[in-house]
């Protein structure tokens, strides 16, 4: 059965990418929240924020990219939920296909759709004056970290997609994720925050990921932040993957 895993995943990936291409609004709505935040922070609040960098949009973009991913993965939960409810999920499960390919197709679709949204957001940031002297390798590292982050959050999104009782329930989990960057170094440096808030901000995953991306964009040595960031991404990925897989097995047996 597993001999068909790659082929089946490719066929199902083609199916959900068709869904994405026929509802381009999902890409746009994914990008709209982070773009609106970026406009608000750069042109309204940014003047009053002392980020320690010349250009606030340069400071802001890494955090905005994480917000983009956090708002994009809600669609994975949504699409998975619809498949579960519509009966097409059961049709797939009663067919001679590799069963895990049904989930992997949704996860890979999420990666592709989110990368497109990220490109849109970076494009808008460039129009707003974002500049980076980062070389090809640094950009690849940025893309790698963001892909890993997307994978980790997507597997998290699979869980509500599988267990939710309503459409709202399937996508509501992403709201706290969108706000996590606010209590991090994404919008303002953490050293102005009061003790306990600062302790939380400096030790939650967003800060290390944002710092690593920022160092890559500004051609600074990435230091230990990148390892902390990778450890967070891989850690979240493993935990959510295991949980999602266990829940999935229970659903289909």
């Amino acid at each position: 059965m597993t001999k068909h895993f790659l082929g089946d995943t490719a066929v199902l990936l083609g199916r959900s990418l068709t869904h994405v291409s026929r509802s381009v609004d999902t890409i746009i709505t994914t990008a709209i929240t982070p773009i609106a935040m970026m406009l608000l922070f750069v042109y309204v609040l940014g003047g009053a924020i002392n980020s320690g960098q010349d250009s606030y949009v340069n400071y802001l973009l890494p955090g905005i990219l994480l917000v983009t991913v956090a708002s994009g993965i809600a669609y994975t939960a949504f699409r998975l939920f619809l498949d579960m409810k519509s009966g097409i999920f059961e049709r797939f499960q009663s067919m001679p296909i590799a069963r895990s390919s049904v989930l992997w197709a949704h996860v890979l679709t999420s990666v592709v759709a989110n990368l497109i949204s990220l490109v849109v957001v970076v494009g808008v940031a460039l129009l707003m004056g974002f500049r980076s002297g980062a070389g090809v390798l640094a950009w690849l590292a940025v893309a790698g970290i963001l892909t890993l982050f997307t994978l980790a959050l997507t597997w998290l999104a699979v869980i509500p997609g599988l267990v939710a009782k309503s459409v709202d329930g399937a996508s509501a989990f992403s709201y706290p994720l969108i706000f996590l960057p606010f209590i991090s170094s994404a919008f303002v440096p953490t050293d102005t925050m009061p003790g306990p808030v600062r302790a939380f901000a400096e030790n939650q995953p967003v800060t290390s990921i944002v710092n690593a991306l920022r160092d890559l964009f500004t051609q600074q040595p990435v230091g230990t932040d990148i390892w902390t960031a990778l450890a967070w991404c891989v850690g979240i990925l493993i935990v959510t993957y295991v949980f999602a897989t266990v829940i999935y097995r229970r659903k289909i047996s």
Binding site: H4, R15, S86, E90, R91, S253
Partner: protein
């Protein structure tokens, strides 16, 4: 299909039990379905018909008992069972965003068949969906959706097909269309297990009928055998009134296109 034909009945169910928490849905279900037969599982809502279908199509595990499909045990040879079956669930399991042809091609690819495009075109023609092939399924009527759903189940000609309440929620014309499709299937030698809560549907289609009640099969036989269970027929004289269904079909035509009495308006005097 590469599935090898295994001798014996197409479906064999012995002592099947299943509970959802406290609720004992199946309390020892036994039946056989001969190859090429249409077997109707009749029961009211909540009788456990869907549970039986889900166990037979490897979506659910039984608590006790044994079941085999096409000679393969559903618990230990699930992959072989899936090669042998197709499931048409209670709600049309079609992809709304794809068009009709893309839905069929998708299933053909997932069944690892050659020429998915040709298979799709043939089935579209067979189920009178060629004209709608490139339209999004979300624009289809309930009957078209069901026809596409059944067509998707026929991709690869699996020897056993499960139809779980195939006509629930359909209008009378769509029902007749589905019935015709099911009869054609059986003519080609496909084994059909059909669940329904409509007595006339079982009467129209099934070679054998089993009634599932309170978790057990309480009767199992041909229509003639079931009729013998009742006291012999009495002769009564009753005026034959057309049913509303007779009237409906007389006016709109049985094929849903042009009725014989198409232009008639009740009470109109031309």
């Amino acid at each position: 299909m590469t599935t090898t034909q295994v001798p014996g009945p197409a479906i064999q169910v012995r002592g099947l039990e299943k509970s959802y928490k406290e609720l004992r849905v199946l309390r020892g279900v036994d039946f056989d379905v001969a190859r090429g037969a249409i077997f109707a599982l009749l029961g009211s809502n909540g009788a456990g018909k869907t549970t039986v279908v889900k166990i037979l199509s490897t979506l659910l595990r039984a608590d006790a008992g044994a079941a085999s499909v096409n000679g393969f045990d559903v618990a230990t040879k699930a992959a072989d069972v899936r090669e042998s079956i197709s499931l048409t669930g209670q709600f049309a399991a079609v992809d709304e965003i794809l068009n009709g042809r893309e839905n069929l091609v998708l299933v053909a690819r997932l069944r690892h068949l050659k020429n998915p495009g040709k298979i799709a075109d043939d089935l579209l023609a067979r189920f009178s969906l060629t004209d709608a092939a490139t339209r999004k399924v979300s624009t289809y009527s309930g009957g078209m959706r069901r026809r596409l759903d059944i067509a998707m189940s026929l991709v690869g000609n699996p020897p056993v097909i499960f139809l779980d309440e195939p006509t629930t929620g359909l209008d009378p014309q769509a029902r007749v269309e589905v019935w015709q499709a099911v009869k054609k299937l059986a003519d080609q030698g496909t084994t059909v297990l059909l669940t329904t809560q409509y007595l006339d549907e079982a009467e129209q289609l099934a070679d054998r009928i089993a009634i599932l009640h309170q978790g057990r099969i309480i009767v199992n036989g041909t229509l003639a055998e079931l009729k013998q269970l009742l006291p012999p027929a009495k002769v009564e004289y009753v005026e034959k009134q057309p049913t509303l269904e007779d009237v409906f079909f007389a006016i709109v035509g049985a094929d849903g296109k042009d009725g014989a009495a198409n232009d008639r308006t009740v009470g109109a005097d031309k």
